[in-house]
Amino acid sequence: MIAPYFALLVAFGIVPIVVAAGTSFEPSVLNPGGGPLNYLLALQDFRFLDALINVGIFLALYVPSMLIVVALMSLLLDTVQGRWNLPLRLTYIVPASLTGATAVLVWYFLLEPTLSPYQDILAAMGITQGTQIWTGSNLAWIFVLMAFFTGAGNWIVVQYGSLQSIPDDILEAARIDGANAFQIAWQIKLPLIRKYLVYMGILVFAAGLQVFVEPQLISASVYPGLASNWSLNQLSYTFAFQQNNLGGAAALSLMLLLVCMIAAVFVIFRTDFFDGIGVKRK
């Protein structure tokens, strides 16, 4: 019964890692001898540090803003039960349908002052040309904006769902004790959904570390070269497809994968998120 899934797990979850590990030691033009030097060379590549810093800034903006806004919006949403609750939730997940290539397209339009629905706001900020926005130093903010709008809505709905699992008698007891809505949200609801927020934070971090589509599409077509090799994944892609250095590409992507796997193991064994489902030994 488990066989079909097991076959997929082995074939496309485990074997690719083994194959890539083998490839990561293969010789390349850059490193005719092959071996572990591929890893060092990937880290020493002149574009690596810049990409690392870019992704670092991206994560430093993206993860906290997701956590704060999602927690705030789901707590607020939880206070307005009744007929407007469902319509609000539905509107919040609308941006999740604009992902990847579509997100790039939509944000190109939104940030283009001649086309944007926000053109008045942009004009008030003194922005009348797209080139004022699309500069190297703004890229992290722009990519955060794209990723944030794509991801936040779904997570708001998910965390709102987490809030529904809080037993009513706990909230009732707090009200009887005289806690106001703010105190209930801050001192009772927030700690109770903490583990869901931690889980989300780690998932968002792991996904953000792998940022690729947005910078790749922007610099491949819209503003040529603006964000080339901007993220670590793009650099790995460049190694593989432009520099014929599959060994270096495999080395770099395995290092990124390792970080994500450490994050995964951390969630599973060092947080209480998966407690009680049979992961930990009794």
């Binding site: 939730r89 939104l110 709102y160 769902g161 987490s162 792998q210």
Partner: protein, 317 residues
């Protein structure tokens, strides 16, 4: 009782009633300002959420000059959608139709394979005696938390070695690996269906498959909907994996094709492509809309599933 607070009238003792009243009076003073702030925040959030989508829906109704000159939310005409579509068809002999068909076929196959395998595996881990159950579960959880993007390059190396590069099979099979679905199914079969039912069926002499098909499957329609929802929304928009695993335009999906339109028409960058191209901004907005609308429709249709918390319902010890 002067204050109206229907939720708080069930308090039992007089002593408690007094405390509640005291706080209620204090609350109503600052409460209405707080209420207003809550609503303003929620409504601003809602507006920010739907403005991009509304703009994208309206955009192809306008001509390129209208897009530039008319107010952002003015509507052009329905005729312009048809014109934009006909213009899109001129791109590489109507290859967009092929992309659309590819996207539909790949996605349907991925949803079918991923949901069936996940349902079976989730059930097997939850309700049957299989060896290495815990290892299986932990491996699945790791695979679920690691973002799929992290495996794209290793998959590319493997697929190339297998000689499957640039084949639909490569995209369909690799995308059908669905650990999150297995996790959802596992949780469902361990928490929502009492374990005794499986035991009873077995005692009655039903084999694993019979138990699954006669007992578990009829009880898991809601689960199947949820699995299909997440599988569909990931497969339909996936960009990086098909982009890397496919090489020829005839095999591309709609999102990858959209990227091709970005780079080979002057719609977003006047420096690109042939200057006489009729693919402009209305056309490219329509192409983007074709990617976005099916996802939006599925989201709205599945809203019933999203009412119950995905995580909260799933992880409860």
């Amino acid at each position: 009782m002067t204050t109206t607070a229907p939720n708080e009238t069930e308090v039992g003792t007089p002593h408690l009633t007094k405390i509640t009243h005291h706080n209620l009076n204090k609350r109503t003073a600052s409460g209405s300002v707080g209420r207003a702030l809550v609503w303003v925040t929620l409504i601003v959030g809602a507006l920010l959420s739907i403005i991009p989508m509304i703009w994208l829906i309206i955009a192809p109704s306008k001509t390129a000059p209208q897009l530039n000159n008319d107010p952002p939310f003015s509507f052009g005409s329905f005729e312009n959608y048809v014109i934009a579509w006909q213009n899109l068809l001129t791109f590489q002999d109507g290859i967009i139709v092929q992309w659309l068909v590819n996207s539909v076929v790949y996605t349907l196959l991925i949803v079918a394979i991923s949901c069936v395998t996940a349902l079976l595996a989730g059930y097997a881990i939850a309700a049957t005696a299989i060896p290495f159950k815990r290892t299986m579960l932990i491996t699945t959880l790791i695979a679920m938390i690691v973002p799929p993007v992290a495996l794209v390059l290793p998959l590319f190396i493997q697929i190339s070695q297998l000689g499957l590069y640039d084949t639909p099979t490569a995209v369909i099979l690799t995308s059908s690996f669905y650990p999150f679905g297995v996790f959802l199914a596992y949780i469902y079969f361990t928490t929502s269906i009492p374990h005794d039912i499986y035991e009873a069926a077995r005692v009655d002499g039903a084999g694993e498959f019979k138990t699954f098909f006669l007992i578990a499957l009829p009880l898991s329609r809601g689960l199947f909907g949820m699995l299909a929802f997440f599988s569909f929304s990931a497969a339909w928009v996936n960009y990086f994996l098909p982009y890397v695993l496919l090489g020829s335009a005839a095999n591309f999906t709609l999102p990858v094709g959209l990227g091709i339109l970005f780079s080979s028409t002057p719609a977003l960058n006047p420096g690109n492509g042939a200057q006489q191209s009729v693919i402009g901004r209305p056309e490219i907005a329509l192409a983007g809309l074709l990617v976005a609308i099916p996802i939006l429709i599925v989201f709205l249709l599945s809203s019933r599933l999203l009412v119950r918390g995905v995580l909260a319902g799933a992880v409860k010890s």
